[in-house]
């Protein structure tokens, strides 16, 4: 996966995670962290570096391997005055606490007629491209997308990590915060002080006229790289970074289509049941008259993630695949 470097002063996506959490922990004493190996060990992805040192064991808690207890306890704590930030190490393990995430947390406010509020964040390392195999590489943002009542953040740049973490932790609604494993080493401009990026506001990552590429997290750099290549061929692609799936900023997507009339969605989750299906269906309904060409989706193949690099590249959207698909769509 391509690193996006922006010269001097650039920070990594990885360190921005810890930075984003630390900023909120400084602001608000009710913010507490829990998860496996997040304390003294500072996280298996080194995304909680410095937190234990700065905030100590009463704010940063190591847990047993008990995903249901982690997320369930976070829920109980969120209902009673804390703002827990729970780490689920790999997003694949969301499956282990899916009941709490899909059936408890997003429903309790509604089913109690608004009596309770659940301000929590579940952070997790999502996605493939690192050769971790079928059970540690899934892009499962579409799992969360099937569940009304969860907000879903998936930043693609270091500054967005910090700014969206602020929004997520301050949110009175539960937020699933997808950190992309393939982006941890990537670099970008650091977030300015007090940086807050609201959830639900897409970003035009690159302007263009011929065609709109809608992307999220890891597929943003992929789409940008494809757009860069295509620019050399005279194809001008606009790249929309959705940033969050819920709230979903369709206004920005539809506005872009008013100019480009062509839509390609680039998503890492599998084609079947991917979030791009919902985006496509909204456009095929509300944006039908804007379209000059079929809607295309470049998504992962409908298979588990294979281990070997060369096989994984066949499954996950790559710059090559996106570029090819855009060429075909542009000439439709």
């Amino acid at each position: 996966m391509a690193d996006v470097t922006t010269g001097n002063g650039a920070v990594t996506y990885r360190e921005s995670v810890a930075e984003g959490i630390a900023r909120e922990m400084r602001r608000d004493p009710t913010v507490v962290c829990l998860g496996e190996d997040i304390g003294a060990a500072e996280g298996v992805f080194k995304t909680t570096v410095g937190l234990f040192k700065e905030f100590g064991g009463r704010r940063v808690w190591d847990t047993p391997i008990s995903e249901q207890a982690i997320v369930g306890a976070a829920m109980g704590a969120a209902m009673t005055g804390l703002r827990p930030v729970a780490e689920i190490m790999f997003s694949d393990f969301l499956a282990c606490c899916w009941e709490h995430l899909a059936v408890e947390i997003p429903k309790v406010r509604y089913m109690t007629g608004g009596q309770v509020t659940v301000p929590l964040v579940v952070r997790t390392a999502n996605g493939g491209g690192l050769g971790f195999g079928a059970q540690h590489s899934q892009a499962v943002e579409n799992w969360a997308f099937t569940v009304p009542g969860l907000k879903i953040a998936a930043p693609s740049t270091p500054a967005d990590v910090v700014g969206m973490m602020a929004s997520a932790i301050r949110s009175d609604d539960p937020v699933v915060f997808f950190e992309h494993k393939g982006l941890f080493a990537s670099k970008g401009a650091p977030a300015p002080p007090d940086h807050v990026v609201p959830l639900g506001q897409a970003r035009i990552a690159r302007g263009g006229d011929d065609l709109t590429l809608v992307a999220l997290a890891s597929t943003v750099p992929t789409a940008l790289a494809a757009a860069e290549r295509l620019a050399g061929e005279g194809i001008s692609a606009e790249v929309v970074d959705l940033r969050s799936l819920i709230p979903l900023d369709m206004r920005t997507v539809l506005a872009s289509l008013e100019r480009t009339s062509r839509l390609m969605i680039v998503e890492e989750n599998p084609y079947q049941g991917g979030w791009g299906g919902t985006v496509a269906s909204i456009v095929a309904d509300e944006g039908f008259e804007l379209l000059d060409a079929p809607i295309r989706r470049v998504a992962s193949e409908c298979v588990p993630l294979p281990f070997a690099d060369r096989l994984e590249d066949e499954v996950i959207p790559t710059v090559d695949r996106v570029t090819d698909a855009v060429r075909r769509l542009a000439s439709y």
């Binding site: 249901q68 369930g72 306890a73 969120a78 009673t80 109690t112 009542g149 900023d249 206004r251």
Partner: protein
């Protein structure tokens, strides 16, 4: 709520209060059964008649600001923690005045303002939540305690294990109260559980001691929970209490519970928590007429609650699209 300070020291007046609460719950459950059969209550119900002493005894031993988490069989806990029979009945009858605006129903009675933080319908789910509430209380330094009530069947599901381990490791002020009514739905609990006492026999797996108590004796429940709460507040960590009890109705809806041996039913019916409490009151010198007065007051209260709930307006369909988010809306896209 009437609270004694030492185990075994409930006065006659206090006990009579608890008796009255139990009587109110019993009447409410009976009313719900009737309303269900008459078509006023839709969906399903899981009546707790027979389990009253657990809810009422435990509740009396707790502070008002302690947290309670219950199951789909949770009417007794909601009422014991301050939900009125009227708002519960209204909920079940799909009225706008329901305690959850008729969005929750029988399985989700919740009274957050009195710290009764919900009834959950997925077995075991709320045990980690109670641990989390206890963790929160500990971190906020409030000396609050959290209690999770659950069935014998819940002891075989994963979250039971994870919650107890986490609570023990973190020494959380949480009390796990198993209402062992001998059945998970239609199946005798012994036939699907590797130990005879599903909760108590497992406490040692978390370095805890498990206590088995008579869940039909409100005084006994009160004492056990009072001591567990005291330990919790003193920083001594979680407790496991297995309260043996029995349900008077079937598992849910119209289940006639034919799978239970007649002698077993008879034995437990003779140990009705209301009968046991009445015996205790009599032993403390309370006159039968006084208890009867309390009984009719309970009957009266519930019958008025039924009328009020029936008379309340139906739930407003517009409510379907509110309360998803903290801003009150259900908006997920622009």
């Amino acid at each position: 709520m009437t609270t004694a300070t030492e185990p075994g020291t409930l006065s006659a007046a206090q006990l009579l209060d608890l008796y009255e609460e139990m009587a109110v719950i019993r009447r409410t459950e009976k009313a719900i059964q009737d309303l269900f059969l008459a078509g006023f209550v839709k969906g399903t119900t899981h009546l707790a008649a027979g389990h009253e002493a657990v809810a009422v005894g435990a509740s009396a031993a707790l502070r008002d600001d302690d947290y309670v988490f219950a199951t789909y069989r949770g009417h007794h806990h909601a009422i014991a923690r301050g939900a009125t029979p009227e708002e519960c009945l209204a909920e079940l009858m799909s009225r706008a005045t329901g305690v959850c605006k008729a969005k929750g129903g029988s399985m989700h009675l919740t009274k957050a303002e009195s710290h009764m933080l919900g009834s959950y319908a997925i077995i075991g789910a709320h045990l980690p939540m109670a641990a989390g509430a206890a963790w929160s209380a500990m971190l906020r330094g409030t000396e609050q305690v959290a209690v999770a009530f659950f069935g014998d069947g819940a002891t075989n599901i994963g979250p039971f294990h994870e919650a107890l381990n986490l609570a023990a490791v973190w020494k959380l002020p949480v009390i796990f109260v198993c209402e062992n009514n001998l059945y998970m739905e239609y199946t005798p609990i012994a036939s699907v559980t590797a130990v005879p006492n599903p909760a108590a026999d497992r406490a040692s797996a978390y370095g805890l001691t498990g206590e088995i108590i008579d869940g039909n004796d409100v005084q006994v429940v009160y004492d056990a929970v009072l001591q567990a709460a005291r330990r919790a507040r003193a920083g001594e960590g979680p407790s496991v209490i297995e309260a043996r009890t029995y349900r008077h109705y079937g598992h849910s809806r119209t289940d006639p519970a034919k799978y239970r041996p007649e002698e077993e039913v008879a034995e437990w019916m003779a140990r009705d928590p209301l009968t046991l409490a009445r015996d205790r009151l009599t032993a403390l010198g309370v006159a039968g007429e006084e208890i009867d007065r309390v009984d009719s007051r309970a009957r009266q209260l519930v019958s008025e609650a039924v009328d009020a709930a029936k008379a309340a307006p139906e739930a407003d369909p517009a409510e379907a699209l509110t309360d998803v988010w903290a801003d009150g809306s259900a908006t997920w896209r622009t």
